[in-house]
Symmetry: C2
Subunit: 338 residues, 2 copies
C-alpha cells in the first residue's frame, strides 16, 4: 500500500469520492447545487483526508478572499483593542476574516502594510483617521479597494467613515473644565503631526480657550507620543513651569494615567492640587485613583458599525457612508471645581 503523506488537494478528494474537482468545489462553496447523495460522499472524503482548501489558490481563482485588512497605529495600549475586537467579531459573523497590522504611528510603514494587505487580496480595508498621503488614496482608488476610515467622523471626505468629532468632543470637555472655574489650563497632547485625532482634540481645547476669551499664549501645550511614561514626564515639566496649572487636560487616558502617577510620586493631591482629564475612557480609567474624568468613546459600537458598513461597501449594497457616533463626558473624581 502506497499511501501519500503529502497535503491533500481538491484532486485527491475528487478521486477519493469518485467525482470531478468541480463537484467537490461546489460541495464546499455552493452545496445546494449538489445532490445530497454525492455531497455526503464528498464530505466523507474531505474528512477522511483531512482536506483544507488552499487559501491562495482559492483567492486566485475566485478573486475574492473574504478577508478584511485593518491597520492600527499601535497594539501596545488598549486604545484600539476593544474597537478592533468588536470589529473582528462582527466581521466573523458576516463570514469575513480579519488581518491586523500595526504601523507604529509611522506613515511609511502604514503605506507598506496597505500594499501588503492589498497584495494579499484583502476585499476591504479599515484605516484609522484620514491624515495620510494622497498617493495612498490614489493607490486604493485605482485598485478599487473599499476602505473605511474609523475613529473620526469625516462627512466631507470621499471615503466612508465611522467615528466621532474629536475636536467638538474635546471642546465640550474643555468648556466644562473652564466653566468649573479653571483659568490655568495646561495640555498634554499626542503628537499632532500626521494624527488628525490628536490634532482635533488639541484644537477642541484651543477652540474653547479662545471662545472663552483667553489667549493661546497662556495655554501651555506639550506634545508627546501616547505612552504612559511620557504622560508622567510631561506632567512634571508642566508643574515646574512658571505658572502651575490648576488642571491638566490630556490627549488620551494613557497620558492621563502617566500624569496621575507622577503627580502621586511628587506628592500632589489630585484633584485638590491639580485636576487631570483624559480621553477615550479605556477600561483602566475608572480603576485609576482617583477615577479619571474623561470622554467616553463607544469603541465597541464603532467597531461593529465599521464592520457592517465596510461589508456593505464590498457587497455593493451601499455606497460611501459617514456614521457619526455620540461621545459623552464621564465625570469622575480627577476633575474638581476650582
Amino acid at each position: 500500500m502506497t499511501t501519500s503523506f503529502s497535503i491533500p488537494t481538491l484532486d485527491d478528494v475528487a478521486r477519493a469520492a469518485g467525482v470531478s474537482t468541480a463537484t467537490v468545489s461546489r460541495c464546499l462553496n455552493a452545496e445546494q447545487k449538489v445532490s445530497k447523495d454525492t455531497r455526503d460522499r464528498v464530505m466523507e472524503a474531505v474528512d477522511a483526508l483531512g482536506y483544507t482548501p488552499n487559501f491562495n489558490a482559492r483567492a486566485m481563482a475566485a478573486k475574492r478572499t473574504y478577508t478584511i485588512g485593518a491597520i492600527i497605529p499601535t497594539m501596545e495600549n488598549a486604545i484600539f483593542a476593544r474597537g478592533l475586537q468588536a470589529f473582528q467579531e462582527t466581521l466573523h459573523g458576516l463570514g469575513y476574516n480579519l488581518l491586523v497590522s500595526s504601523s507604529a504611528y509611522r506613515p511609511e510603514l502604514e503605506a507598506e502594510q496597505i500594499r501588503g494587505l492589498v497584495a494579499r487580496g484583502a476585499d476591504g480595508l479599515l484605516l484609522i483617521g484620514y491624515e495620510r498621503e494622497q498617493s495612498v488614496y490614489d493607490y486604493l482608488g485605482k485598485r478599487g479597494i473599499p476602505t473605511m476610515l474609523a475613529w473620526s467622523y469625516l462627512p466631507d471626505r470621499p471615503h466612508a467613515s465611522v467615528g466621532f468629532d474629536n475636536r467638538a468632543s474635546m471642546r465640550v470637555l474643555a468648556d466644562r473644565v473652564i466653566s468649573m472655574g479653571h483659568r490655568r489650563v495646561a495640555v498634554i497632547s499626542g503628537i499632532v503631526d500626521g494624527n488628525d485625532r490628536a490634532e482635533g482634540r488639541l484644537n477642541g481645547i484651543k477652540d474653547s480657550w479662545v471662545a472663552n476669551g483667553f489667549d493661546l499664549a497662556d495655554l501651555p501645550v506639550i506634545e508627546t507620543p501616547y505612552e504612559i511614561e511620557n504622560g508622567a514626564t510631561a506632567f512634571e515639566t508642566l508643574m515646574n513651569g512658571t505658572q502651575k496649572p490648576s488642571v491638566i487636560m490630556c490627549g488620551n487616558d494613557v497620558l492621563a494615567a502617566g500624569a496621575m502617577t507622577r503627580a502621586k510620586e511628587l506628592g500632589y493631591d489630585i484633584p485638590n492640587d491639580v485636576s487631570v482629564t483624559g480621553f477615550d475612557d479605556i477600561e483602566l480609567a475608572k480603576h485609576l485613583h482617583p477615577s479619571l474624568t474623561t470622554v467616553h468613546v463607544p469603541h465597541r459600537e464603532m467597531g461593529r458599525t465599521a464592520a457592517r458598513e465596510l461589508v456593505n461597501l464590498i457587497d455593493g449594497s451601499s455606497t460611501t457612508v459617514h456614521r457619526q457616533l455620540n461621545v459623552s463626558i464621564i465625570m469622575r473624581n480627577s476633575l474638581a471645581q476650582v
Copy 2:
C-alpha cells in the same frame, strides 16, 4: 490611446520593459541574476506601472510565503502586546511578515485559526503555551509546519519552545511572601483549564504552601478570567471570606490591578491591611499605587528569541530547541512584611 486601468501584472511589466516575465521575476526576487542594465529598465517599468506582486500567485508558485502566523489568547490587555511587538520587529528584520489572530482563550477557535493560517501558507507558527488537543499537533506535524511555543519553557515537549517556568517562578515569589511572615494567603488565579501558564502559576503557589508545611485546605483560591473587573470582584469575595487574608497573590498583573482598585474602594490600605502581588510586570505595574510587587517576565527578549529560533527552524538551520529565559521578582510597595 487606449490605456488599461486594470491592475498591472508581471506580464504588463515584462511587455513594458521589453523582456520576459522570467526576467522581471528575477529582478524582484534574485536581482543578482540579472544584468544591471536590464534590471534598471525593468524597475523603471515597475515604478511606472505601480506594480505590486500578487501575493497569492507568488505563494502558489513558490510554495513559500515568508509569513509567520501567531495566535495569542487575547489582544485586549497588555500581556502579550510587548512580546508580540518584539516578535514582529525581529521577524521584519529577517524578511518575514507576521499575521496575528486572537483566540479569546477558546481552544476550538484557536484550532480554526491555525487551519486558517496554514491554509494561507504560513511558513511557521507561534503559539502560546502547550495545552491543546493532540489532533492539532498531529495536523501541524502532518503538514510539516514549524511551530514555536512561547510563554512556557517546555524541555520535555517535542516542539520548540521559548519561555520560562511559570510554576517555579511563581513558587519563588510565594516562598518570598511566606518568608515575610504571611500565613493567611489567598489566590486569584486565571482559569486553569486549558491554560498551562495559569495552571503552572497556581501550582507554584501550592508547591510553596505545602513545602512550608501548610494545608491546601487553608489556601483559598478563586479562578477567574484575566480581566481587571474580575480581579476586583474576586478581591471582594476573598475579603468577605471567613478569614481575611493578609496577602492576595494574583495570577497576573491585570487581576492584581483589579484587586487593588476594589481594595481602595472598600477602604483597605495596601499593603498595610492586605498585600497584593502580580505576575508579568506589565507597564502598568509600576504605575499603580502602591506600585505592584510582581514577577518580571522578559517579554521583549522572549519575542526576539522566538522569532529568531522559529526562522531557524524554517530555514532548517536548526532543529527543535528549548530556550529558557530568566524571570525575576520585582519588589515594589504592594507587598509588606507581616
